[in-house]
């Protein structure tokens, strides 16, 4: 169970400005939930660029090698068949399948990596229990600050006040909630 502070905004620009400000105030565990992708948030939240393209490349190369190996092994080695004296290693004739398998495995890797890296599929996530979360897929932009209450006790109240003041200044509707707690529906 963890207390979090949520800044709810009505515009993507507001979300970006808020995210930037929250990060400037030194908060580390900040996540944004939005109805559509906003590229500027990646910068504002210092999200490192995903490695999916590299994984897809590895997947593609695997597919490429696998297709070459299978075609060579089946047609040139394990069951050599002389068709009008054509060479057993007919590499140009294998290109189409090599290409198709490369594409198949690299797209499959990209798809799987995209979901798995986001820990999906996971039908129940703690954030779903936060009040009003369902609007983040429609028209609300949320900045969730996970370490808003993490400061030492003597400075916590002061820091929280600063944070709340800043968030209000930026036009956010501030909600305090507790993650991981069963909520009355």
């Amino acid at each position: 169970m963890a207390d979090v502070l949520i800044a709810e905004l009505e515009s993507p620009e507001g979300a970006v400005a808020t995210a930037r400000r929250v990060r400037e105030l030194g908060y580390q565990r900040v996540e944004a939930y939005t109805p559509f992708p906003i590229a500027d948030l990646d910068v504002a939240l210092d999200i490192p660029r995903s490695k999916i393209p590299w994984l897809a490349l590895v997947g593609g190369l695997t597919g490429c090698g696998l297709a070459l190996l299978i075609q060579w092994w089946t047609n040139a080695w394990d069951y050599p068949l002389n068709v009008g004296g054509r060479p057993l290693g007919s590499y140009p004739a294998w290109v189409p399948i090599i290409f198709e398998t490369t594409v198949l495995l690299s797209s499959f890797t990209a798809f799987a990596a995209c979901l798995l890296a986001s820990r999906l599929p996971r039908l129940v996530h703690p954030v779903f229990d936060l009040p009003g979360f369902e609007r983040t897929s429609i028209d609300r932009f949320w900045i969730v600050i996970g370490d808003a209450f993490a400061a030492d006790e003597d400075v916590r109240a002061e820091e929280l006040a600063t944070l709340r003041r800043e968030l209000s200044r930026l036009g956010a509707n501030v909600i305090q909630a507790r993650l991981g707690e069963e909520v009355e529906r």
Partner: protein
Amino acid sequence: MSAATSTVERERDELRADPVLIRPGTYAEVTDELLRAVLRPPRWMRPALIVTFLGTLYLFAAIAYTVTTGIGVWGNNIPIAWAFGITNFVWWIGIGHAGTFISAFLLLLEQKWRTSINRFAEAMTLFAVIQAGLFPLLHLGRPWFFYWLIPYPNTMAVWPQFRSALAWDVAAVFTYFTVSLLFWYLGLVPDLAAMRDRAPERWRRRLYAIFALGWHGSARAWQRWRIAYGLLGGIATPLVVSVHSIVSSDFAISQLPGWHSLVFPPYFVAGAIYSGFAMVVTLMVPARRLYRLEHVITPRHLDAMGKMMLVTGWIVTYSYAIEIWTAWFSGEPYEMYTYLKMRPAGPYAFVFWTVIVCNCITPQFLWSRRIRRSPVALWIAALFIQIGMWAERLMLIVTSLAQDFLPSSWGLYWPTFVDWSLLIGTIFFFLFLFLLFLRFVPFIPIAEIKELKHDLEEEEHAHG
């Protein structure tokens, strides 16, 4: 500045004069409007589903008859072993090309108008590829042995022959279907989440929650989604080009006059995109009217689709001309006979002239901006093009096989009742699947439309 000088400014002025979205409301309004089609289906939906379902049953009856009796019930025979079956296969898979072309190619080119219609076109791709896949399976004669096409260790100790274009076909079609499905589904996940969060009934929230896979739309998840989606688009673009190239190799690597031609791969790809755009128009124009989506699918979309059909129509026309010219220039008697005599004046001349009228003359009307922007006129043109593209494949297959080298082995083909039933049945099955899609899936990409709205507003804001 009044006269736009740079490309960016010119594009902006164009977008303003001819918008891709007309007066979108707030984000919530946009979402609700696009979800309404699914949450409260129109009244015509149920009867339409019933009719197409009956047609689908008819298809399966024809399939059952074919499989239990044998493909002797088709009109195919030596020398014309490929006829309706392969014609339908090539036609359907060609139609499937527009979907990925619109989604992937236009995504890479950052064409803003693609957003409203991409999911529509992708779904069409999937359903068209399903129809296409049926025909080679049935044409095997013993479809329950289809897995022999896949290299798996078996007690017969034999393997598929990868020097054959037919083995390439299996890989191409299977890969195309899988990648199209992944691309479509990945794009759909955030919208299914919106559906989960907005549906009024509990069962519906539950159902969409499962298919949304627990999507939460965090900034990190969105970044991965954007990258993976763009990546799939980039990978799918050469894939589109490869699939029909490989299908064309089924013909081009043979020695038959009329098939043995280097121009086939680009010519087939252009033809595929041509018929695919025609199919998108055929489905989009009625859907846009019935669902009142005139402000999301604007005249600008119709115009762009019309232009695409004009361009690909010309590529196809040019290919016809080149084929005929090459045949004549080769001086090869069999080639010359097929192209200069058999096709325009042989027993199937009416098919040839149908092709010329539908594929070469119809698109010329699309030079007119008024026709491109008139839904009815564009729809009629699209129908003609579809008929023309189907006839083109029939002409290609049947005229080449009917009269090749030795007159002693010539023969003619006429379709049987079962042939026609299968063709018509797949059209019903396709429409049935498509209606199910319209009924249950947000068919205009909601998250992407909101993103587009945001981009357009930002642009507007930046330039005043």
